[in-house]
Structures are given as structure tokens and as C-alpha cells.
Amino acid sequence: MINYILIPVLPLAAFVINIIFGKFFFKEKSHWIAILAVFGSFVLSVITFAEVAAGKTINYDAFSWIVSGSFNVSFGLLIDQLTAIMLIVVTSVSLLVHVYSVGYMHGDKGYYRFFSYLSLFTFSMLMLVTANNLLQLYFGWEAVGLCSYFLIGFWYEKKSAADAGKKAFIVNRFGDFGFGLGVIMIFLFIGAINYTDIFANISTLQGKTITMLGHDFDLITVIALLLFCGAVGKSAQIPLHVWLPDAMEGPTPVSALIHAATMVTAGVFMVARFNPVFSLSEVAMNTVAITGAVTSLFAATIALVQNDIKRIIAYSTVSQLGYMFLACGVGAYGAGVFHLFTHAYFKALLFLGAGSVMHAMGGELDIQKMGGLRKYMPVTFWTFLIASLSIAGVPGLAGFFSKDEILWLAYNGGAVGKTVWLMGTLVAGLTAFYSFRIIYLAFFGKFRGTHEQEHHLHESPTSMTLPLVVLAIGALAAGWIGIPALLGGNNWVGHFFEPVLGHPHVHGTHAEEWMVVGISIAVAFTGILISTIFYLWKPQIPVLIGEKFKGVYTTLWNKYYVDEFYDRIIVQPAFWIAKNVLVGITDAKIIEGIVNGVPKLIGSFGEKLRKLQTGYVQHYALSMAIGLFVILTLVLIAGTR
């Protein structure tokens, strides 16, 4: 058992050692401990994967965590097919990002701190995927969020970085609010929160309803949607997607590891893990599918016009995560996780490639100021190209197989299947377009930056290019484990997942499958072609279109004004109420007024009474508080009887 426990514990040990001794003892050698630890975890994960592939499943409780009456939860370990593949994703990408960071973070004054956080993150993510109960999942869930907060705000002197970290944490709390209630609901109605008991007993809740505020809701739907709230936050889906693009303030290796390959996919992992719950509620399933499809399209359109290379890739991530939810929503959990797997490699590669470009350009992010880079950094260019071909869905590369599996199963999906299939196909075209927009603007044409930048252009050091090459192999070949029967494969990964994720119902014919594949290939090449015309052959066209459709362009450029909207309706009012109503009126005038003024009040009763009618804001506030109190009390008393 110790070899399984060591998988998360090794990075934890590296974190503890580095955070305590890193600053004065290891300094610029801090990466050795972190890399050795994650390498150990990776080797153990590969061995474990082989065991699971041979048919073994590991599930046991390590030690008791919280015991309170009938509530009893442990720290445990569950390694089945789903977890095994996540272990591979997490440890392999983490290892490569660790190696890459040696070059990328070289000379940073927080070097030891950076590697400490990376280790802590790896530990947390491994705790998340190996959990055998909901509360441990929640532990990992919040812990990866914390590491994300630390790493986004890694350069904390920068206000934008500190703000972005805080935003990520708080926006995620909105999702976790629902997730936490979902956990409590499951405990309340099933009496346990470990997976085995939940999945064994969830069907007993079928047909039961729950009354809230006078309405009856289907219990399983409520539970599933509450859990999904958490996924929406963590995986940056509408309406909680706003934190992920800002998270790009963090160092680029962090964007690759946390905000592309691993943490943000936790939501997809969770929904897939809870497929026995979701599958029992059609409403929940459709919500997942639609949320995924809409987010996917929404983010892809924003990515079309952005100029910040990391933000384009970030919106692309939001979009691809939507794809995975789309898959889960139509019951194709296996395809969703398969896409998670391939996406981890090509998207991490895109980010690390962008990091390599930034490294050469002195931190420049604007693709309009790049150009012609393929001459200066061939390794970065070729690997970036492979990743782009993969995400665009060019046949034979990793992204093609997983995307195609999703589209085909969506086509076969239930009530919303055809709709989300259409949206998914459209997104595939947009994805191909914006991916090649980066390629053409950054790597082709003439260099458009400053002379100083041009003078410094160079290929990145080996510690950075080596991970790029390894990831490129992944972006190329990771899909080959799921080649469908139609194309002469045996869809190994689909069968591998079957015991955990089930087998989606397929009723379409071979001809239809050929059609779906054909359309998606055609759409991908169309996207690439248009991009080539726009940014290689006739660069004046996009400028003309931008001027012609100014309104659309501005809306997309401003990301549909969602941030501004939230700022107006949530952030500013909260601070305004706190400062002007609660501090200024309720506490200072009403409550203090009553306490300090009881004698006065009696004396000048008539005067006060007159004031009541003049409609002062403070009186509204007080009567609201009292009214709320009275009403809620009555509701509750009535409810308990």
C-alpha cells in the first residue's frame, strides 16, 4: 500500500522541505528536490497504471479524519481506471513543467518559493484525484485552488497579479458554495459521503423530491446541479469563467500545469466520477451539456480577436473545457475524459511554447508585435505547430481522435444531442482559425517588435525545449489509444473506461459516422484556410472586417463585458452597502442610536415618530432587518410544526 500512498506524499515532503529550508539552504538548487519527488510520483503512477490496466482496483481508508455522531469520514485512496489516467496526466505534465521551470524561472528571487508551490500543487491535485470520498475530494479541490491563488499572485508586487489571484479564489468560492451544499445534501439523504456508499444508494433517491421555498424539486437533480456548481467554478464555465483569463498573470509554467492541463479539468473529472448521480437526472445532464456547449462557443468567439497570446490560449482552454462538459452532458463521459487526456498535452505545449516565445521576447505578450519567429526559434515553432494542428483537429493527431469521439457521441446524444453537436462543430472551426492566427502572426511574416527585442531573439535553453519536444510527442500520439473502429482502431481507451464510466448508447449508422467525421475534418481545414487567407495572404481583410462590424468586434474584444457587469452588480454594491449602509447607518446610527439613545428616545418619542414617516434610508434598512427576522422566524416555526 505504501507505494500508492507515496504518490501524493512525495511532493508533499518536497514542499515541506523546500518551504522551510529553501530560502537559506537550497536556494537556486531548490528544483532538485521538487523534481526528484515528482519524478518518483510519476514512476509510481506508471506502475500503478499498469496494475490497474491489468484489472486491479485499489480502494481503502487510510486514517479517520472527522467523526461526529453519524458523520464519519476518512482520508482514503481510490485508484480505478479514471484515477489511473488522471495520475498519468498530473504527474507527467507536472514533471515536464518542473523541468521547464528550471530554465524559465532561472534567476527569480522567489525561485525556492515557486518550486515549493509547484510541489504543494502536485500533492493537492493528487489528493483530489485519489480521493475515495467527497470531503477528501473537497480538500484537494480547495487546496489546488489555494495553490492557484499563490501561483497566480506569485509576483505579488504587481497589483494585477495580486488582484487576479484574489479573483480566482473568490470566484471559485461561489462554485464551492454550491458544491459544499451538495456534499451536505448527499450526507443528509444517503447518510454517507464515500463514493462506494453514494453510488450504491443513489438510486434509492429516485423519484424523491425536496421542498424549498414552497416548490418541489427532484432531489437527484438538485444534488447533481449543486455538485455541478463546483465544476462550473473550477473549470471556468459560464457564468464563473471570468477568473481563468486573468489567471494568466501567473508565471507561464503555472498556466500550463494548473490552468490548462490539470486543475481546471478537475470539474470534468468530478462530473465523470459522479456519472452514476448525473446519469439519473436528465435535467442535470442537459444542463451540463448546454453549459458546456455555450461556454465552448462563447469562449471561442472571444479568442478570435484577442492579441495577448496567453489570453487567447486561456480562452481556448475555457472553450475546450466546455467541449469536455458537452461530452459528459450527453453521457459520453469516456470521450470527455479522453479529451481531457489529449488536451492536457497539446494545451500544456501551447502554453509552454508561448512561454518560450515570451522568454525570447523579453516578456512580450502581444502577437501583433511578434512575427517571423520561426527563423529564430525552430524548436518552439515546430512544437507549437504540432500543438496547433492537434487542437485544430487535423486527422491523425491527438486532438482529432478525442474531439471526433465527442462529436460523434453528441450526434447520438439525447434531446439536446444534435444541437450541441452543431455547436461543437462550429467551435471546431473557430478553434482551427484562432490557433493558426497565432501561428501566422507570431511565427510568420516580418518581425514587428522593437530593435532591441529583435537583437535578443534566441531559442530557449534545453531545459525548456526538451519538455516542448516531449509534449509534442504527446500532442501527436496521445490520441492513438482511442482510434475508433471506423478508422481501423479498437478504441482501447473507451473500453478501458467502461467499468467506471459506462458505455454510451450509439444508434447511428456507419454512414452517419463517416458524415460526422467528414464534416469535422472539413470544418477544421476551412478554419485553417480562412486563417491562412486572413493572416498570411491578405492581411488587410481582417482589418476591413473589424471596421465593418465594429460593434461585434468591440463586444468580443471586451469579452462581452462580463467583468464590467459583475463589477457593477456585485463587487461595487457589496462595498457600497458595507461602507455606506452597514457601517454608516445601521451600526453607527440605528443600533448605536438605540443603545445610546434609549433615554432620549423616550423623551422625544413624538419627534422620532414623525421622522419615521419622512422615509429616511436608515429606517428602511432597519425595518428590512426586522421584517426579515420576523418573516423567517414565522416561516421556520410554521415549517417545524
Binding site: K23, F63, S64, W65, I66, V67, S68, G69, F71, L135, Y138, F139, E142, A143, L146, Y149, G153, Y156, E157, K158, K159, A162, D163, K166, F169, I170, R173, F174, D176, F177, G180, L181, I184, M185, F187, L188, M212, A574, F575, I577, A578, K579, L582, V583, G584, T586, D587, I591, E592, V595, A625, L628, F629, L632, T633, V635, L636, I637, T640, R641
Partner: protein, 546 residues
């Protein structure tokens, strides 16, 4: 002048710290401790633990007054040694506690004023036991944190602190209502003095406000105590009162009488406005004791008196209490967003956190009550720690305005790291103690009422918002030039915070050490309430089918 003053005080401490003679002398208490623990383990030492830990600080406080005023070092060392000895003497409470029974343990009972049937009776159960330990622990930390901060009337300060410790422990141990009331009011005096003498510029206003609020609440309780005395056949015996069944109407009236005393202490919305003033003006040690122990006594009072004495009234009033708690959670959290003063923000966050505590308690189920008690301990640890932290930085900057900070992570890295740990515990991150308490309370609250449970859970969103906002404004972004020359916290300060860091993670990862002490007592309390609750339903609802 300020810096010269500090230097004058810190130099001798450093010198003596490195002297070999003093180092070898340090071995004496260490060896003594080993012998003491060994003797405890084999059961050689037997002493009336509770009386010792109540009266040793009080006697010590008096003894302190006889030390010459000029010898500040000796005064501080005596106070420190006394507080440590008191804590060590509490250890049997931990090791010899019988977790299987809900009966009072370590009971001592002597007749005191036989004419009025007043006894000196003390004892603890699973509900009070942890608070005794927490009081003893926090007192030590208050002594060490005040080491350089208090330079005026040093003798009186430490005497007040020790007096306060004795009275606080007395409150948690009393099994006689008269004795309880004595300790309850006695506690007010040193606290009043601490705020009024060593406090900030507005200290007199804050001290009087604190005193009046709590006194008016207590007077109603006093009337209730007298009624109970006569109703129970002229007896102040708390254990007897717990088994008496009072008429429903009387229960209701007395519930509110006791409630008024305890609600002010918690403090529940809307009687919370004394707390920000008291916290802001109090010296660091005063804030720590206020946040760590004093405001816990309100919630403790609910558990010890309101609920077992008046179970039917409790069941009837629980929805109202829960609504007030939820208002406190949200109101206290939102108002934090509007604060400009460090201590005021933490004070208001206490209102929100104590809302969680009372929500759990009045959910009247196992997880709620147990979570509520644990959260009281947690809040004592975390908010106590935050006030210690604020005190430490205040000693360096002499400002509490949040706007005067910024970028402090660069000059104060260790301090920033420790502050982060407590911030995370305050926002209830899993793996810290705050999570365990809040989660159990939400389980309990949600079981009792889905609507209120859900509303309460919004408090954790706002909680994250204001704590991270505070942290960012203190430690991140631009480094305020005024902060550049600051020295990071020293060994004394790190050691002051270290026990609390350990507790944050201990309770976070293995809360069962502490939860298991409460099991039997909480179960007993729930049985008392649920029997009465059914009784009440049958009495008042007659034949209404359920």
C-alpha cells in the same frame, strides 16, 4: 523616542538569552517538567486540579503586587512562569478525562455560605473542559506578546491578566450558580481595567461601553438566577437545576433573561456594537482574551444553562436564534468589507464567526452542537492568533489603518507566512481547523433548516472576500516605503504563534482528538432537549398529527 525605548528594552533580553549561565538554568524547569509528566503518567500526583488552576493565578496576581515596581524583568518572568505552571497543571484534565461519561468530572464541593445553601462547587464535563485548557494556553501567549508592548504600569497589567485567567477558568468550572455569577462579574473588572488603562486613545469610551453592555445583560440574568434559586427549593446547585422541569411560561421568561446576558457576550446581532470598540481600543492581550475566551462565554452559557435548564423554551426559540445567527453571519461579514481599521475588521469578523457558532448550537443536533463547540475553540485559536499578529506589527508601525500597510510580505516574510496560515484558517480552508468546525455547523444547520443552512453558507464566500482583501492590502502590491526598514518577527514572537499554528493543523487534520472529549456530553444534552421537545409538542399541539 519610540525606537530608543524599544532598543532599551530589547537589548538586555538578548544579552541574557545568550548567557551560558541562564541557559543551564533553563534546564531546571525542563527536567522538572519531565519529572512532573512522568509522575502524572504513573498517577503519583493527585491534587484538586480545578481549584489549583482557578486560584493559583489569583494568588499569583496578588503576589505579583509585592514585587518592587522597578524590577520589571522579575514581574514579567513571574507572570510567565505562573501562566506556564497553570497550563501544565491543567494537563491531568486532558490525560485523566473519562470520555465515556457525560457526568461532571474533577468535582470538588464544599459548603460556603450554608445559610443560603451556597456551595463552592466546581467540575467540568466535555463541554467546558477544552475551554479551561484554551484559557490557560492563551494566557501564556498574552504574557509573551505583551513582553515589550506594555511599558507602563507593568505590575498592574500582569496582575490583571492573571486575575482574569483565574476568573475565566472559574466561570467554566462553576457548578454553583452563585459562584458562577461571582466569577462572571469578577471577570469584567480586570478586563475593564485592561481596556481603560492600557488601551488606545478612545479607551475610556470603549471600556465604559463594554462594561455597561455586559452589566445590563447580566442584571437580567441575576434576576433569573434568583427566581431559579427559590424555585429549586433555595438551592444554587446547577446540576439539580438541570434536572428540574420548569413550567413552560416560566421557561420562556427565564430563557430570555439568561439570553440577554449571553447574547451580549457572544455578541449576537444586534447587540454587537460594543465589540468593535472594545477590540479596537484594548491592548493586544486584551483583544486576544476578549476574542479567545470572553465572547465564548456567551455561547457556553447557552449550552450550560439555557439549553439544559429550559429545553422546551429552547426548542421553541431555536428558529429565532438561528435566524439571528444567520443575520449575524452575513451582516458581520459584509460590514467587514467597509472597514479601514485592522482590529475593527477582525472584530467584525468575530461577529460573523460567532454567528456560525450560535447557528450550530441552536440547530439542536449532534453535528451542529459539536461543530459549534469546536468552532468556539477554533475561533479562539485563529482570531486570538490574528490579534496577536496585529499586535506584533502594531509594535513596529504604531498604526492600525489598513491603508498604511501594503507590500509587507517583502520586509516581513516569516510574519506574512504565519499570517497567511491564520487567514486561511479564518476562511475555513480544508486542512485547517476552521474548515472542520464550519463544515460540521453547516451540516447541522442544513439538517435543521435548508434555507438557513444555505444562507449561512454564503458567509464563507464573503469571508474569503474580506480576508483576502485584507491580506492583499497588508502584504501585497506596492511596498509602503515606511515598512521597508521593519525587522521580521523575532524568536519570542514566532514561539508565541507556533502553538497556535500547530493547533490549526492538528484540528484541521485530526479533530477527533478534540471531538471525542465532547461526544458523551453533547449526546446527553441532545437527549435532554429532544425529550423535552417531544413533551412540549404533546403539551402544546395536542392531537395535531405530525
Amino acid at each position: 523616542m519610540q525606537t530608543g525605548h524599544d532598543a532599551h528594552i530589547s537589548t538586555p533580553v538578548e544579552n541574557t538569552g545568550s548567557s551560558p549561565l541562564l541557559r543551564s538554568l533553563l534546564l531546571v524547569p525542563v527536567i522538572g517538567l519531565v519529572f512532573y509528566l512522568g509522575a502524572l503518567a504513573v498517577g503519583v500526583i493527585k491534587y484538586p486540579v480545578l481549584s489549583w488552576v482557578i486560584f493559583l493565578p489569583i494568588v499569583g496576581a496578588i503576589a505579583l503586587l509585592f514585587i518592587p515596581r522597578k524590577n520589571e524583568k522579575l514581574i514579567k518572568m513571574t507572570a510567565f512562569v505562573l501562566s506556564v505552571v497553570v497550563f501544565l497543571m491543567c494537563i491531568p484534565l486532558f490525560t485523566n478525562f473519562d470520555k465515556t461519561t457525560s457526568n461532571m468530572q474533577f468535582v470538588e464541593k464544599y459548603a460556603w455560605v450554608p445559610a443560603f445553601n451556597i456551595n463552592y462547587a466546581v467540575g467540568i464535563d466535555g463541554i467546558s473542559m477544552l475551554f479551561v485548557l484554551l484559557s490557560a494556553l492563551l494566557t501564556i501567549l498574552c504574557v509573551t506578546v505583551s513582553w515589550n508592548a506594555i511599558t507602563d504600569k507593568v505590575k498592574e497589567f500582569y496582575a490583571s491578566l492573571l486575575l482574569l485567567e483565574g476568573a475565566m477558568i472559574g466561570v467554566f468550572c462553576s457548578l454553583d450558580l452563585f459562584l458562577f455569577y461571582i466569577f462572571w462579574e469578577a471577570m469584567l473588572i480586570p478586563m475593564f481595567i485592561m481596556i481603560g488603562v492600557w488601551g488606545g486613545p478612545n479607551r475610556v469610551y470603549a471600556a465604559i461601553k463594554f462594561f455597561l453592555y455586559t452589566l445590563i445583560g447580566s442584571l437580567l440574568m441575576l434576576i433569573g438566577i434568583i427566581v431559579l434559586f427559590f424555585y429549586n427549593g433555595r438551592s444554587f446547585d446547577i446540576l439539580q437545576m438541570m434536572t428540574t422541569n420548569y413550567p413552560y411560561d416560566m421557561q420562556l421568561i427565564l430563557f430570555w433573561a439568561f439570553f440577554s446576558a449571553f447574547a451580549v457576550k457572544v455578541p449576537m446581532f444586534p447587540v454587537h456594537t460594543w465589540l468593535p470598540d472594545a477590540h479596537t481600543e484594548a491592548p493586544t492581550a486584551g483583544s486576544v482574551i476578549l476574542a479567545g475566551i470572553l465572547i465564548k462565554m456567551g455561547a457556553y452559557g447557552f449550552l450550560r444553562f439555557n439549553m439544559p435548564f429550559f429545553p422546551q423554551a429552547t426548542v421553541a426559540m431555536a428558529p429565532a436564534m438561528m435566524v439571528l445567527s444567520v443575520i449575524a453571519i452575513i451582516y458581520g461579514a459584509v460590514i467587514c468589507l467597509g472597514q479601514t481599521d485592522l482590529k475593527r475588521l477582525i472584530a467584525y469578523s468575530s461577529v460573523s464567526h460567532m454567528g456560525f457558532v450560535t447557528l450550530g448550537i441552536f440547530a439542536l443536533n449532534f453535528q451542529g452542537i459539536q461543530g459549534g463547540i469546536l468552532q468556539m475553540i477554533n475561533h479562539g485559536i485563529v482570531t486570538g492568533a490574528l490579534f496577536l499578529c496585529v499586535g506584533m506589527v502594531y509594535e513596529r508601525t504604531h498604526t492600525r489603518a489598513i491603508a498604511d500597510y501594503g507590500g509587507a510580505a517583502a520586509p516581513l516574510p516569516v510574519y506574512a507566512g504565519l499570517f497567511m496560515i491564520f487567514t486561511l484558517a479564518a476562511v475555513g480552508l480544508p486542512g485547517t481547523n476552521g474548515f472542520v468546525g464550519e463544515f460540521l455547523i453547516l451540516v447541522g444547520g442544513f439538517t435543521a433548516s435548508k434555507l438557513l443552512g444555505a444562507l449561512a453558507a454564503t458567509g464563507i464566500i464573503i469571508g474569503a472576500a474580506y480576508m483576502l482583501w485584507l491580506y492583499q492590502n497588508m502584504f501585497f502590491v506596492r511596498t509602503n516605503p515606511k515598512l521597508l526598514g521593519l525587522t521580521d518577527i523575532n524568536e519570542r514572537e514566532i514561539l508565541t504563534l507556533l502553538p497556535l499554528v500547530i493547533l490549526v493543523f492538528w484540528i484541521g487534520f485530526y479533530p477527533n482528538t478534540f471531538l471525542s472529549f465532547m461526544d458523551a456530553s453533547v449526546q446527553h444534552l441532545i437527549e435532554r432537549i429532544s425529550t423535552a421537545g417531544q413533551l412540549q409538542l404533546s403539551q402544546h399541539l395536542g392531537a395535531i398529527p405530525r
